[in-house]
């Protein structure tokens, strides 16, 4: 209201850019939900772990986070595969509450391991392009966030191709639709579950590498992102990939605008209120199928 239109435009554009990376975080969450039908409470902690991995790659090995993104994605795919195959799968015994508790346990372990190793200091990396901006009409856009936006779109396209053009993608979709039927035609369901979980975790690793140049990292940083990611997933509809990306953009703008009007300390309230509202009014989300 009191702001000139350029400032609001800039807030909206920067919100869109940040929102794209939120969407990438949410993409992993929604993919796992869509196929395994579980809510992964360890998602935020795994994001934190990935951000520390990118941090170590930069500070100890001198590798730029953008270069580290793909190798980290591979590493975290293996990690996610193993966690689902060896920990979550066996412990779930087909019960929802068990999965809830096991992923909560995982998040407690990962988060506090990070705390034990890196202590509670907030850390950030120093890259030459961290503060660079690009002029877009009257607005100034942060360069790392522009890269994040582009990379998220690329990941979205890659996932789309994976799901539609490969045998693995077909198997994943089959398991998501009809698990028993998929098992009957010879698909190894436990393997597909683990692959899906691995892809979700790999998305996190890429998101972490994209976030690191413009965000600090601390042992609890994942919590902030994961609540945002839950909101996006609920808003976009659990299991909907398009919903995650669109929801991410919406939430990015909401956060940016409520930060502008309410100040940083209350800015997150807008997100939580949307979260609660959507859960109460339409838990299937805007793009989700009716349960």
């Amino acid at each position: 209201m009191g702001f000139p239109p350029e400032i609001i435009l800039e807030a909206v554009l920067n919100g869109l850019l940040t929102g794209a990376v939120y969407g990438l975080v949410a993409l992993g969450l929604t993919l796992v939900y869509g196929v395994l039908h579980i809510i992964n409470f360890a998602h935020g902690a795994l994001l934190t772990a990935a951000m520390y991995a990118a941090y170590v790659a930069r500070t100890a090995l001198g590798i730029d986070p953008y270069v580290a993104a793909l190798p980290l994605a591979g590493l975290f795919f293996v990690l996610g595969y193993g966690v689902q195959r060896l920990v979550i799968g066996p412990a779930s015994q087909g019960k929802d509450e068990n999965i809830l508790l096991v992923t909560l346990g995982l998040s407690i372990i990962v988060e506090n391991l990070m705390l034990a190793i890196f202590r509670s200091d907030t850390r950030s990396i120093d890259v030459p392009y961290a503060m660079e901006v690009v002029e877009f009409g009257p607005a100034l856009l942060s360069w790392p966030r522009l890269v994040g936006f582009g990379a998220t779109l690329a990941v979205g396209v890659a996932l789309f191709l994976l799901m539609t053009r490969t045998a693995t993608g077909k198997a994943i979709r089959a398991v998501a639709k009809e698990r028993t039927g998929a098992a009957l035609v010879g698909i190894d369901v436990a393997h597909i579950y683990a692959v899906t979980f691995g892809i979700g975790t790999a998305c996190l690793a890429i998101a972490a590498a994209l976030l690191l140049p413009s965000f600090y990292v601390s042992p609890r940083v994942g919590n902030a992102f994961v609540l945002v990611a839950f909101t996006i997933v609920v808003l976009g509809g659990m299991g909907s990939v398009v919903g995650a990306l669109v929801g991410g953009l919406v939430i990015g703008v909401v956060e940016s605008l409520s930060g502008l009007y309410l100040g940083d300390s209350l800015g997150q309230i807008g997100i939580f209120l949307i979260f609660i509202l959507v859960l109460l009014v339409r838990p299937t989300g805007l793009f989700g199928a009716r349960a």
Binding site: A91, D96, L101, L104, L227, I269, L279, L280, P283
Partner: protein, 315 residues
């Protein structure tokens, strides 16, 4: 309920009550008081989560409300600590009722219920961190006036007795619930909601009454925390740590049993102390152990242990 049913509870109370007479170490007494506060919060969670099967990930919302109102009424309005404590319990129960009404009326269950409670606790945390009446990020300090009339005690041992009395009351209340009509209906709802409804159980009313009781009990733990530590900030009162503690203890000790939360709190905090004494002061290492215990308990439910051992013995 007969005298025989109360025996284990009284025996437990008697054993813990002896502690201040036997040890004078502040470390031990601190440990016991803290464990009692957690046990009380966990007993609250157990009513809703253990007996009712509704897993809340946001009991911090009730703990923090009980804690903050107890503190604010004293510090800002000069009220005596006891009515402030009672008001804290009352408001926590009301908050429970409100959250329960919104969530259960919309039919949220399982993971969705966990998510919405988590979100409510976070909203309260952000609000308390930014609001003036709670002291904002700097927190709120209750003036030290060690006098039983102020719900403050010069001796830690005395505070332990008070905390123990509340835990004992909560144990008796849990036992009474277990034997009551409400308790039976609650278990029926947990096991099969549709069937319970078909048999004429008013599911919404059962859940609402339970969440109010549950929230009030956890709110009492919050008030107790405020009176013991005399300091609160948003990350303590509404922090995820207490939501996790309140859930972990019953799960580890046995959800939906009278003694589960107390047993779990003692086991977990005993383990935490042991870990700290072995690993030194590495931050977070005790919580890593909590996480591992949680996963192990879910993977190998303790009630299956005798069976597992028997199977092992057979080749």
């Amino acid at each position: 309920m007969t005298a025989r049913d109360l025996l284990p509870i009284l025996a437990f109370a008697a054993v813990v009550a002896l502690a201040p007479l036997l040890v004078s170490s502040n470390v031990v007494l601190n440990f016991l008081v803290f464990t009692m506060i957690i046990a009380l919060a966990a007993q609250g969670w157990n009513l809703l989560g253990g007996y009712g099967g509704q897993y809340s990930f946001g009991h911090a919302a009730f703990f923090g409300t009980g804690a903050y109102l107890t503190a604010i009424l004293q510090v800002r309005y000069g009220m005596n600590a006891y009515p402030a404590f009672a008001a804290g319990i009352g408001l926590a129960a009301l908050v429970g009722l409100a959250i329960g009404f919104l969530a259960f009326r919309s039919g949220l269950r399982g993971s969705y219920f966990a998510l919405v409670t988590l979100a409510f606790a976070e909203v309260f945390r952000v609000l308390a961190n930014a609001s003036e009446v709670t002291g904002g990020a700097a927190g709120i300090l209750i003036r030290l006036r060690a006098d039983p009339a102020n719900f403050q005690f010069a001796e830690r041992g005395t505070f332990l007795w008070v905390a123990l009395a509340l835990v004992t009351l909560a144990l008796v209340a849990t036992l009474m619930l277990e034997r009551s009509r409400l308790g039976a209906q609650l278990v029926a709802v947990r096991e099969n909601e549709a069937a319970a409804q078909a048999l004429g159980v008013d599911v919404l009313s059962v859940k609402l009454r339970t969440i109010a009781l549950s929230a009030g009990m956890t709110g009492a733990a919050g008030g107790l925390y405020a009176q013991y530590f005399l300091y609160l900030d948003a990350n303590i009162a509404y922090g995820t740590w207490i939501s996790v503690e309140a859930l972990l203890a019953p799960i580890v000790g046995g959800a939906g049993t009278v003694f589960g939360p107390v047993l779990g709190a003692v086991i977990l905090h005993g383990l935490a102390e042991a870990t700290k004494s072995i690993a030194g002061s590495i931050p977070g290492i005790d919580l890593v152990v909590f996480g591992i215990v949680l996963i192990l308990v879910v993977r190998y439910p303790p009630r299956d242990l005798p069976g597992l051992l028997r199977r092992r013995r057979r080749p």
